[in-house]
């Protein structure tokens, strides 16, 4: 499995999750888990996804999502799961 963490941070607006999910579905990226909360007044969403089946290279998915974030006024980041596991699990 090729797990990737997608985070969305910014002001809450209608349709953020819909847009991201549509993009992921179109590119055959499976969502394993999704959670959202408000941290320091900002909307925070995190998705754990599996990128095994997508044909797009990682860099391209990351650039696409980042550009989508700019369009809707939020920051979307796409990072491999290992960095979080490494930092927060012994």
């Amino acid at each position: 499995m090729n797990k990737t963490i997608i985070t969305v941070v910014g002001h809450d607006t209608v349709g953020i999750i819909a847009k991201v999910c549509t993009y992921l579905a179109e590119n055959n990226i499976n969502i394993l888990d999704i959670s959202q909360t408000i941290i320091s007044g900002y909307f925070n969403m995190m998705m754990i996804t599996d990128m095994t089946a997508t044909k797009k290279p990682f860099g391209e998915v990351s650039d696409d999502l980042s550009a989508m974030g700019e369009e809707i006024g939020v920051i979307i980041k796409c990072q491999r799961e290992e960095i979080f596991n490494g930092m927060h699990r012994i």
């Binding site: 959670s35 995190m46 754990i48 960095i83 930092m87 927060h88």
Partner: protein, 454 residues
């Protein structure tokens, strides 16, 4: 499974607290490039570096993008050129031609610095090594990306005082040859005691002869992360303080470990070590001095500074060691003046002197680093400063170093701007009393005894 708060914490460290991987340094052995013919030697060196390091920068950028962690520098260290050029180089100009070759190779592969224009003369100098040392001023004046280091002592060998004397002169000549750029050449020249073979940080990086053909070493950073973590435990006991530093150091180091392993896998080059150092930059909030203030000092340099730095350095190691399978290099808190805004502020406030910095180097890595001094400081005084600092390393079995910049044409009260990561610095006063007769004695200081510790 990882949760949203942990993800947010990691990303805050990166975005707000200046967490980054400071450098991926690719160590390359040049031993198999040695040839008696200087042209052939230069060709061999250029070909080996540009072949082995071809993918280094791109790989670093790819990893940076996929993990979302900035990797600030991609660099190369090579076998000390004093060894590599010994057979081919008959003049200092021959050595300078190697420096230019290294510079050209660095440009070709896109790294910002290449370390290893070095001589290991802890006990004595071969004719080749002496030629290399004498070529340093011209080499640094005629290249951009070369970093030079000279090892002048160790706990096992004692101090090579002939070398210490010579380096006082070479540092001044380097300052003189680069005086139109505020003596910038000296920011790329360091002398060391007990130098590690696997240091990824410049200017002291070289690929030691104990190393494999090629190796990946990574240096992490993160003073900002430690400072932010400590803000949350203001007023708490030393126990809480130390636990917080340890936990933070673990997290920071893990990032370095992941990046190092990934770079090793992609480049097909073995993973060497992670260097646990806290390396500041001139950016606001990326300062070791600010951590000392957060621990409870008005300014770095105030009474208590050495103790605060000692505990910081030790807790960083304790937390970091468990986070990485191999730890090495310098591994400690760096206290350069020009590269740390908090240190600069402390000097300008009159809180921090060279003598206090010297005391601080007894408990942390690495030494008197990036200190601008008056351009008219005598050569022998620079040698005296070097001897003092290296003696600390020799007696205490630790790495120490000196990177001072006598800024030609400037004096105390004036300011010097090096730019970029090298930062800016006020010129610091140097003790005016002479040590000329001491430095001019010649010979070696014998290796210290390892018993009767006091």
């Amino acid at each position: 499974m990882i949760n949203i708060f942990e993800v947010a914490e990691t990303n805050d460290m990166i975005e707000k607290e200046n967490l980054d991987v400071r450098t991926i340094t690719l160590g390359i052995s040049l031993l198999d490039c040695i040839d008696e013919d200087i042209n052939k030697l230069n060709d061999n060196i250029y070909n080996k570096i540009t072949t082995v390091a071809k993918e280094l920068v791109k790989t670093g950028e790819d990893i940076s993008k996929e993990f979302g962690i900035p990797i600030v520098n991609k660099r190369i260290s090579v076998t000390p050129i004093g060894l590599i050029g010994a057979s081919a180089c008959k003049t200092t100009d021959d050595f300078v031609s190697i420096a230019k070759t290294l510079d050209k190779a660095a440009v070709a592969v896109g790294v910002n610095f290449i370390g290893g224009y070095s001589a290991l003369v802890a006990k004595g100098m071969t004719p080749g090594e002496e030629l290399l040392i004498r070529s340093i001023p011209d080499a640094l004046a005629s290249t951009e990306r070369i970093m030079s280091s000279v090892v002048l002592g160790s706990t096992r060998t004692g101090l090579n005082m002939d070398g210490v004397k010579l380096m006082g002169e070479v540092i001044k000549q380097t300052a003189q040859k680069t005086k139109d750029k505020d003596s910038l050449g000296c920011t790329k020249l360091v002398v060391l005691c007990n130098a590690p073979d696997d240091n990824p940080f410049m200017a002291g990086a070289f690929h030691g002869v104990t190393e494999a053909d090629n190796i990946i070493n990574v240096g992490v950073s993160g003073p900002g992360v430690v400072k932010y973590a400590l803000q949350k435990v203001r007023g708490e006991s030393f126990e809480v303080l130390c636990e917080t530093i340890k936990k933070t150091a673990f997290k920071v180091t893990r990032v370095g470990q992941i990046v190092a392993k990934e770079a090793s896998k992609r480049l097909g080059i073995p993973f060497g070590i992670v260097d646990l150092s806290l390396a500041p930059t001139p950016a606001i909030g990326d300062s070791v001095a600010d951590i000392l203030c957060e621990i409870g000092l008005e300014h770095a340099g105030a009474p208590g500074t050495t103790a605060a730095l000692a505990l910081l350095n030790d807790q960083v190691k304790k937390g970091g060691v468990m986070a990485s399978s191999y730890v090495g290099g310098l591994s400690g808190a760096f206290i350069p003046v020009s590269e740390d805004q908090g240190m600069i502020d402390a000097v300008e406030a009159g809180a921090l002197t060279i003598e206090k910095l010297e005391a601080m180097t007894c408990v942390c890595s690495v030494g008197l680093d990036m200190i601008a001094i008056p351009g008219d400081t005598p050569d022998t005084t620079i040698s005296g400063i070097i001897a003092d600092e290296l003696a600390i390393g020799m007696i205490n079995q630790k790495t120490t170093a000196v990177r001072v910049i006598p800024v030609i044409g400037k004096g105390v009260g004036e300011h010097v701007e090096f730019g970029g990561l090298l930062g800016h610095a006020p010129i610091m006063p140097v003790n005016q009393f002479s040590c000329e007769a001491f430095v001019n004695r010649g010979g070696r200081i014998p290796a210290p005894i390892h018993s009767f510790k006091n």
